[in-house]
């Protein structure tokens, strides 16, 4: 995956966390994800379609997610409540939307967010799409952005070569 695809997400998570609840984010070294297992127990998931396709996941340990959601909403929610999931979804929605704007490409759409909470869940991404983990360190704990995106043209080329 092109490094130019990663920078917008780095900028987006820093912008969202600092603007909405003044939480600085320190970015670690991005690396390729090699399995389907969710990095942490809480996953906020956004699908991307159009000229780029794939998945964006904000993965957080339960405790860090709790602290971040409290900062974000000003309230404490149980992890199994609708409000907790809604707040996680809104965070990944803002991060994805912000990053999408930086691509400056027409024809990229993002889905409404989905949220999965639970230990050892797995997230399947499109086969053949590399997933990059962006580790993010905050005062609330470590969180990870998982970006699995590719150009739709590249997808068409893969289909063509498979067909051939």
């Amino acid at each position: 995956m092109d490094a130019n695809m990663i920078t917008p997400f780095v900028n987006a998570i820093q912008n969202v966390f600092s603007t909405m609840f003044q939480l600085p984010v320190e970015i670690g070294e991005p690396r390729l994800k090699t399995n389907r297992k969710a990095t942490h127990d809480v996953s906020g998931i956004i699908g991307v379609s159009g000229v780029m396709t794939g998945t964006i996941v904000l993965s957080m340990p339960l405790e860090a997610a709790g602290s971040i959601i409290t900062l974000f909403t000003g309230e404490e929610f149980e992890a199994d409540s609708d409000d907790f999931a809604d707040a996680v979804g809104e965070l990944v929605n803002m991060i994805s939307g912000n990053a999408k704007a930086e691509f400056q490409r027409k024809g990229v759409s993002i889905s409404c967010p989905s949220v999965v909470i639970g230990a050892d869940h797995t997230i399947a991404v499109q086969s053949g799409t590399p997933c990059v983990l962006i580790p993010c360190s905050t005062d609330c704990g470590e969180v990870v952005l998982e970006v699995a995106l590719r150009e739709a043209e590249a997808e068409a080329e893969v289909s063509t070569s498979v067909a051939a």
Binding site: N15, V16, T19, M20, F72, T73, G74, D82, D83, D86, A87, G89, E90, N93, M94, S96, G97, N98, K100, A101, Q104, K106, I110, C112
Partner: protein, 124 residues
């Protein structure tokens, strides 16, 4: 001053509600998508709507287009993660009066609400 908040995220509606309360607006109704908003608008008759773009059932742009067919004057502010210039232009063409990109600070949202109400001459 009656204000309708249209966003599928309760978290976002609560954040907007708290900014509105700080500005002294307490008569607030909530809708979770464009269709829900259209069903509440007749009875609530808002003086201002804050509307998200990406929502299930009916998105914000469809709501704005539908609403503007019968109401040309009630101010609408789009509050969304859609930040591309082409999207802003699309929303303005559909009939929104102002545009706020998420994430926003409470100050920015307050400023845009005050500015919109002043421009549309329904503010206090």
């Amino acid at each position: 001053m009656k204000i309708l908040l249209i966003d599928d995220s309760k978290t976002m509606r609560n954040i907007q509600k708290s900014v509105l309360k700080q500005l002294g607006y307490t008569e607030i109704e909530e809708a979770c998508d464009g269709q829900d908003a259209l069903s509440k608008i007749g009875a609530f008759n808002p003086d201002l709507c804050l509307v998200d773009w990406n929502m299930p059932v009916m998105d914000g742009l469809t709501f704005v287009t539908t609403f503007r067919q019968t109401n040309k004057t009630t101010p609408l502010i789009m509050v969304t993660t859609e930040a591309e210039k082409s999207r802003v232009i699309e929303a303005i063409k559909a009939g929104v009066n102002n545009y706020v990109v998420k994430p926003f600070t409470p100050d920015l949202l307050s400023e845009r609400i005050t500015e919109t109400l002043a421009k549309c001459s329904v503010g206090s």
